[in-house]
Amino acid sequence: MTGGFRSLHPLAAALYFSGLVLFVMWLVHPAYLLAAGGCLLLLHLQLDGGAALGKAWKGYLAMGALVALANPLVSTRGATILGYLGNRPVTLESCVYGLLFGLTLSVMLLGFGAARQVITLDRFLYLTGTGLPRTAFVIVMVLRLVPLLKRRLREIAAAAKTQGRLGGGKRTARIREAMELLNTLVVWTLEESLHMAVAMRASGYGSGPRSTFAAYRMEGRDKGVLVLLGGLALPILAGSLWGRGQMVFYPLLSGLELHLPHYGAFLFWCALPILMNIGETLQWQIIKSKT
């Protein structure tokens, strides 16, 4: 599927994911985190059948687990003592804090994973380029140079190897040889970069203010989504400032009160991409059935 949420204007997609990550960081509450996590899992399934997730989920889980374990180890605060580790108390509050923040981190990573698929390289560069055109330009140049440098490094390594270098041996000797390769690479690259600069000027670089090719146009649907996101962000932010969707951990755990309108707005934010994708599929079904 190439339509749906994926085809949203990069600005709207960026706003969506920034909002999502911000809310997830802020609203550390099991109901909120589970909602966001569940929606993101579904989104991953819709985007690529879960292929990217299949590779990365262990890492996401491990980082979450690290947070969950670290908290009870470093924190002795909390009123409900579960037991002792050595002579340090382990409290229920610190365990819950760890679990929830571990969940927060895992959900954030899920969000980054989905964002990486939606905000592709071209879109990322477009976004950077609208605010920071020279930065985007330098990033593009770096992206072009990295594979070129790798190719040069392979040639340098081949030259070195056939001259009896890179023979292995002790670690220090290997590092020295590797750095010799890097020396050659940097001299070579800097030498060629002089030619590159001349070629840049030859194509008019520096003869006036640059423009940036804008490959994406804001369409009616994108504007609608932007308005919708704005309309959702306001109550979510206001409610969060009011203290909705946030637990108190120390000294005693607070209850899990849920303010339904606030939660509903957040849930809608999380589910928006999924709904858009379903809508897109339905539309295709209708078009197909008509022909």
Binding site: V21, V28, F101, V142, V198, M200
Partner: protein, 202 residues
Amino acid sequence: MGHYLPISFLLVVLSILPFYLRFERRNMKAEEIVLVASLAALGAMGRVPFAAIPGVQPTSFIVIMAGLTLGAESGFVIGSTAAIVSNLFLGQGPWTPWQMLAWGSMGLAAGLLRRLPWMHRPWGRAAFGFVWGFLYGWIMNLWFVLGFLHPLSWQAFAGAFAASAYFDLSHALANATFLLLFGGKWSRILGRVVRKFGLLGE
């Protein structure tokens, strides 16, 4: 007030932004732009594993040498751009801004201290690299400690620093070794190009 996760995230992003805004406004020759991009590409490549150089990640060395020759502002941009581009290959995450800050500050510091005579002696450079091996690790610990550990106690910090001590030490040692053995040579290589391009480094 519950926790620092969103605040610390925003603060880091806000601390990186001014450097890029200045970079956008600076008057730069084509040669200077190419040089910044080439060094950032070398730095980024230093992180992506490749068969030719096993176990060597010379990114910090490159960023420090870039800051020393091209100055603080370019040093920051080269360091942080190397971070963001390498993450385009390795995967972006909540750590990206922190990494940009860590490598950016490394280049920035090298650029700020480059007028000091001891930064032009092998041992001075090596000491700088050694210290920054640890500082880098500590900045990267911050995002974890500030964001995910509570309450912020000295034990929390000590624990995180102890957990990363091995990596930080090997990073510091690698930096010191590279700067000791190759700092002079790179300084000549980069200096030659800066003269040849007619750039004075800010």
